[in-house]
Symmetry: C3
Subunit: 314 residues, 3 copies
Amino acid sequence: MVGNKFQLEDVIEAQQFDRETLNAIFEVAREMELVEKNTPGSQLLKGYLMATLFYEPSTRTRLSFESAMKRLGGEVLTTENAREFSSAAKGETLEDTIRTVEGYSDIIVMRHFESGAARRAATTASIPIINAGDGPGQHPTQALLDAYTIEREIGKLDGIKVGLVGDLAYGRTVRSLAHLLAKYHDVKIYFVSPDVVRMKNDIKDYLTSMGIEWEESADLMDVASKCDVIYQTRIQRERFGERIDLYEEARGKYIVNQDVFNVLQKHAVVMHPLPRLDEITVDVDKDPRAAYFRQAKNGLYIRMALLKLLLLGW
Amino acid sequence: MVGNKFQLEDVIEAQQFDRETLNAIFEVAREMELVEKNTPGSQLLKGYLMATLFYEPSTRTRLSFESAMKRLGGEVLTTENAREFSSAAKGETLEDTIRTVEGYSDIIVMRHFESGAARRAATTASIPIINAGDGPGQHPTQALLDAYTIEREIGKLDGIKVGLVGDLAYGRTVRSLAHLLAKYHDVKIYFVSPDVVRMKNDIKDYLTSMGIEWEESADLMDVASKCDVIYQTRIQRERFGERIDLYEEARGKYIVNQDVFNVLQKHAVVMHPLPRLDEITVDVDKDPRAAYFRQAKNGLYIRMALLKLLLLGW
Amino acid sequence: MVGNKFQLEDVIEAQQFDRETLNAIFEVAREMELVEKNTPGSQLLKGYLMATLFYEPSTRTRLSFESAMKRLGGEVLTTENAREFSSAAKGETLEDTIRTVEGYSDIIVMRHFESGAARRAATTASIPIINAGDGPGQHPTQALLDAYTIEREIGKLDGIKVGLVGDLAYGRTVRSLAHLLAKYHDVKIYFVSPDVVRMKNDIKDYLTSMGIEWEESADLMDVASKCDVIYQTRIQRERFGERIDLYEEARGKYIVNQDVFNVLQKHAVVMHPLPRLDEITVDVDKDPRAAYFRQAKNGLYIRMALLKLLLLGW
């Protein structure tokens, strides 16, 4: 990287990254995989303070960020339930909260229940903001770790075939990942989902406009045999309201099990943003092509990379 | 400072500080403003452990203390909801809890829902206790940061004119601040509040006994034009019970807006303990005389100073 | 200790320790009592990360572990309410959660509401697991600190007389302690409890099979005059359901007060796992034979020892 070319100020949405920046982030993430206890790298962020301002609980994401900060020698201020932090409880605006918390810390990792909250925070703050999910909106660090995992597992992002499976209508992760994949060449995407949770037109139109080939399929076995990556997602019960019948029907429709692994190519992998219920059966966990726990671990490296880049620059 | 003259053992209430101690604390707070990452100052409290024992949540105050400790290289044990800590849940006394927690830490920052709890804790503990608010009682570090902010912004505390506005009956902060201001000379205090939340007689009598001039006024514009400091507070809805009508009436009565700023003297400032609702309009935030976010930041320096003084002495 | 003879991999239940291992752990705990701020010992676990995965709150136990880790220079990731951590909330299995969290940390301290959960976690994890209590099952670090306290206070475990008092049916601590005491010679145990919460036959049979003498007694004064250790426990109201009358009767039956201390031998001590209600009266706290707060503090040293042994070996 040359100089400050990619000065990263905030991480707000998957779309903000161009291909060059993505590659640069992935390069730093690779370095982060090599950071060991009691080496200079493990003290990179010594003296820096990260505040995790979580307006809704997400222990997994919070721990991943806090681990990333501490693996680099930084310190953490935790708010697991920031709704009590005046905002909801006493009526303070998000902007006022941010202006207070930025006085106590060097970077804020925020999760919020409202789409657009992270952008509002970034507009107000004079320190970097990382969006750790804002409602139905964005979860950009998940998209980055997904793309990073594909590159680590398959060796490239150009020319890959990806099957997105499960809840494509509401699943924030598959929508964000589609955005990132569109930055690469010759990508082919297959959508495999129950009818009630099909991929929406905005993403389809976007992919088409970016020259990305996509098709819908009802045949998971066929897709599995052709793809480099099968990205399975959980059908979220809370999206179905009182229609439990529709949920139950959707939920059991596309399961990744040993049969699917049997048709999978040797170099291919199965990914999942976790947590999973039974949409991937546990008997395939020991197959080396089951990449989902490695994927979770990659979240640590991506977050280490982002913290380093936002606080110290390139 | 000469030797251990001001040996500070606990921080329990605003009244415990004489003028000389206040000045000494403010001097240390000024030094704390200069502590930078990776300088020796940032390691002053290395190896020390602070426990935040919060029986009611107060994220803002907790984060401020935890940031202060970590900025000085210390470590933190957090209990965001100490009511579960046996006391309420299993019937353990506060004294037993303190005797257990003092075995794990070097200093305890405690917030409690009962007036007098901090003093009871200090009587039991062999390590320093800081009162981070005990019910309707005291919140001494807020009073200290308020007085420190006046000194930083106006340059002195003697001879100042202060307008206390809003909820003067229940507002813990204005009551404590009045106590501290009484230690200085030639102070003049104006009380501006809706009838239902007027300043109570105990404070008025105390000020009179200390030779502090005060008057009540219903004319915020007049007071604003005369004062060095306008200290606005939030009308707390929870104080009005079912009388929402009284709350609504009280709430809208004295708003600090552009009109108030227009009559404010050039050197004057507006303060607020935060969080605010609409008692200060956001359009004045960018005016340099809006001091409330600087005030919040001063809380960090005051708490750093207290932690240093309680753990290392002068 | 010779080489890696006692390679400790996980801490799951009191029964896993033989006498030799117990002695070795107690030896390390003694060293831990001497660790001072800013000495090399205080940096033993620098760079190591401990995750506290608590599926039910236990502030006391959590703080003790977190203090232990930080006193040795390690860092902590905290989850005070891990039930929200997908498992309960979204249906993730404990195994999946463990496989994610082990990616973020070097050791996991887990408290769970289900008996056997810690063993399941240890089977899954490739990093050490410490059981900090799993439902009605085990709480091995409490048993270790209890035995360590007896050795520290009385000077030995062989040949001692111990009175276990209070809730012997449901009290996890007395059951685990009985298991540990059975590893020593010439131990005599007296059970003193209300009828409704008498010691169960499994423990009695186990003690008999191990050659440990025991008897039941209804005379606390007589037992107190004969024993080296009186181990008092709290009668847990939640065990009695709607039979508040039985609870009230059981609760007041055996109180350790000044009368009991009057018949206690000079070298004897009173212990309690805390929290206490009124089963030990506060007026005896100042008697040097009241060992319960020293016992709580010993929990810190035992946990420091275990963390050191699990992460660095002998």
